[in-house]
Subunit: 152 residues, 3 copies
């Protein structure tokens, strides 16, 4: 079995690049996770996983991560992303990600509702909710990214 | 090396949600895999992997999974997904996933042909074939999903 | 923690299939990685990872891979993909992938610039750069793929 993550943190970043992938890369660097090998997961907080404000992860580490991001190459356009983690009192949590052409506040509102919906769909009680968003006004090619990084 | 999966199962699910991601989440819950951290893989059944009708996997586990899914927000539209696994007599198997606007039966027919094509492309003999599909008529925002879950 | 890869190789492939997924599968087979469970990663070469011209990886192995690919079902169209790895003198490297409707040479030029941009964005010095591209003229449904495969 692959080892179950025991820690997590939330990060956001934004940036510009010469291509959409480079803009995504710039957002990862800005978020502090540009030197990791992110493995995208769908998106459960393991039971007992604890929040660390700053995960110290060596470069190149395979890092399970739930993330939302949006890239645009239309100057002036605003892109946003948000990540939300809902906690139950006694079991796993639910992570949701959102990306859209909106403000940071709107993205956070949206992702909050998505986490609440995820709890309703599972019939479990939402005890607490952590949300983090970001927006970015595109200069040439820009990206906004929000992520829940799982670690050990 | 990451550990090679030794078991697998096939699941399907469908559901509705307040957003496409929540509909996808509802389909995962319906399929019994809503509490896992799915890692999407391209999609080989390891040699010797055995079929388990029900995998018991703790919440939050990083779970290699091949899946197809389709989300729609057009009420009345039918979305379908199917997963197929082809077995050889002496080596690995090939997993294919399909999603489309069609019935369950059509999705299953399609994925069956895809697995057969995958065997032809490898020049190996198809000994047996397992297929599972699902369809869903969209109410507001709906999703159909079919997955091959790999475990240990 | 998931084990950090210690080896890598670059591969390219192209092929035709009866569906876009089968064409992608044919390109994976052509590249020599059609029998692996690829886990897509965003895309850092771990410090000290060494180049192996040919990785020997058992079928079904979960294999962290950065890849770009493009599928087309328009006969006559040319699809291309390229992978680039930039090396620093003393730390991790940066992997970039590109796909587009262009020639192999253009794809390689593009991905080279993307790696250079990735180094600039990190403020580290590019010591060496490895690039590999491929193009494919579509017959019915075709795919070009370029990948950096990480192993142990």
């Amino acid at each position: 079995m692959l080892p179950v993550p025991s820690k997590f943190t939330l990060v956001v970043g934004h940036g510009e690049g010469s291509t959409p992938l480079n803009a995504f890369d710039a957002a990862l660097i800005d978020a502090g996770i540009g030197n990791l090998n992110l493995i995208r997961v769908s998106s459960i907080l393991p039971p007992g996983a604890r929040f660390f404000p700053e995960l110290r992860i060596p470069p190149g580490t395979l890092t399970p991560t739930a993330y939302g991001y949006l890239t645009s190459s239309r100057p002036g356009e605003v892109v946003a992303a948000a990540i939300g983690v809902g906690f139950s009192s006694d079991t796993y949590g639910v992570i949701m990600e959102y990306e859209g052409f909106c403000t940071k506040a709107e993205a956070e509102t949206r992702v909050r509702a998505m986490v609440e919906d995820g709890f309703r769909a599972r019939g479990i009680t939402l005890k607490d909710l952590l949300v983090l968003g970001i927006d970015h006004r595109v200069e040439k090619i820009g990206c906004a990214l929000a992520a829940a990084v799982l670690g050990y």
